[in-house]
Symmetry: C2
């Protein structure tokens, strides 16, 4: 199934929360640390408890790469636990010259079979194009990110008075001929979201930063609702998976995503 269809089906079902599997071995509940593979046990329990309520899962590569080969094996095994109808995003933030980006695209799409990927656009179109060839996938290009230092470059003003990130959004719209492009837009940047949502065109929007980073789900969803848009994914990682650090972590994660879905429903009505 195409990534955009998977997302649409979930969105139509009122689901727009993405569960971020930023699994840090140091933050896993104590009782799991005695098992043979704590990270995998943790992910398995989180996936089982939240899959019915989530729009997508996002796997943050860094948390697996830091454990080397074993970590990448866990990433691979985690993927196999995710239901086929649910989009899985490779939050890998790759981006290189063309022939190298092609290899990265092969890694996330052909080898790991992800539905979507996050990509750095700094190097321009030819660095993104190898990803765009996959018309059944979704490619989220970094526009305005959720971190404080986003201001360093992303909010630099360019010659025509627009911010750099606005130039990125403009270009990504141009690159969207196969309708497989999206942008990453920080949920912490609510004013900028309001100011720029009209420029998003047909792009899918991945919004990280709700929860630990301080972004407000309500404000994000209200902004999209006002524009009659439902094609968004709000990522929550730590706020869901570490809601409880105790034996009830999976149930707590489930209750948290149910509560977040309730917040969304209350706004969309």
């Amino acid at each position: 199934m195409k990534a955009t269809e998977k997302l649409k089906n979930k969105n139509n079902d009122g689901k727009l929360i993405c569960v971020g599997l930023d699994t840090d071995v140091n933050k896993i509940p104590e009782h799991l640390k005695k098992t043979a593979n704590p990270v995998l046990e943790f992910n398995k329990a989180i996936i089982e408890s939240t899959a019915s309520y989530t729009a997508a899962f996002k796997i943050n590569f860094a948390f697996y790469e830091c454990e080397g080969i074993d970590g990448m094996k866990n990433l691979e095994r985690t993927l196999s636990l995710i239901p086929e109808d649910t989009m899985v995003i490779a939050d890998a933030k790759r981006g290189d010259i063309g022939n190298t980006s092609l290899m990265y695209a092969k890694s996330v799409f052909d080898y790991f079979k992800f539905d979507a990927v996050t990509v750095h656009g700094y190097m321009g179109k030819d660095s993104v194009e190898p990803f765009l060839r996959y018309d059944d996938k979704l490619i989220f290009i970094l526009a305005l990110t959720s971190n404080p230092s986003a201001a360093d470059f992303e909010k630099l003003k360019t010659e025509d008075g627009s911010f750099l990130f606005q130039n990125v959004i403009r270009k990504v719209n141009e690159w969207n001929g196969k309708n497989n492009c999206g942008i990453v837009f920080g949920a912490t940047k609510t004013q900028e979201l309001k100011d720029n949502i009209d420029s998003f065109g047909n792009l899918a929007v991945l919004l990280p930063g709700v929860g630990a980073q301080g972004g407000s789900l309500e404000e994000v969803v209200k902004t999209f609702k006002e524009k009659k848009r439902t094609d968004l994914l709000v990522n929550v990682s730590r706020g869901i998976i570490y809601k409880s650090r105790d034996i009830d972590f999976a149930e707590a994660a489930k209750q948290e995503i149910i509560a977040l879905n309730g917040t969304v429903r209350n706004i969309y009505g």
Copy 2:
């Protein structure tokens, strides 16, 4: 040994060519394809034949990641074949919010034990800072890259009339308190190199793009020589490792890097 010391020792010895191990299983000589692990056999032969002549090795993660777990095992094994006194660069182009970049830094520096890494700076200082904490490493931040589409964003003019990549170089100079920062600057951009070299300060410079991408070693080296700078690394990947695609590939690679070193020596005198 600190990364900067490794580089300085090699530079003092007249070596500034970096061999890029962009090993593509489809481009490996036929006779190696019958071995149990063609990529590793290829890398081993290239490393053995070029290590005495190179300033550094650069490992392009994409070429290993596209083979999944087996590819990452080859990356790990390749690292173990590189002599301790020779800098190894993780050409991984990572970059994410702080807590995630920290995990990427742990992966390349603590797990794989690389001496240096390439990093996307688009997200600003807090995305790079976790790498900068490693004061014995070298962090090369993308400034002006070698690909044609670098013009899309890197050469956007900002409000004060400077290009985006010039703003990046300015910031990286500010971040260089531990003297562990560098920039990536495309060897294909010779005019921009001449126009901007005075802004490089104490930054180490990694220049990809010589060979297959069309950059000129002579022009790059002359530009640095005119400024009495020797702290550069010129990466050549395909131009060395695929110099011959036959049984003599390792010897051909060796002869090629010897010839490139000769070109450098002729210019520095």
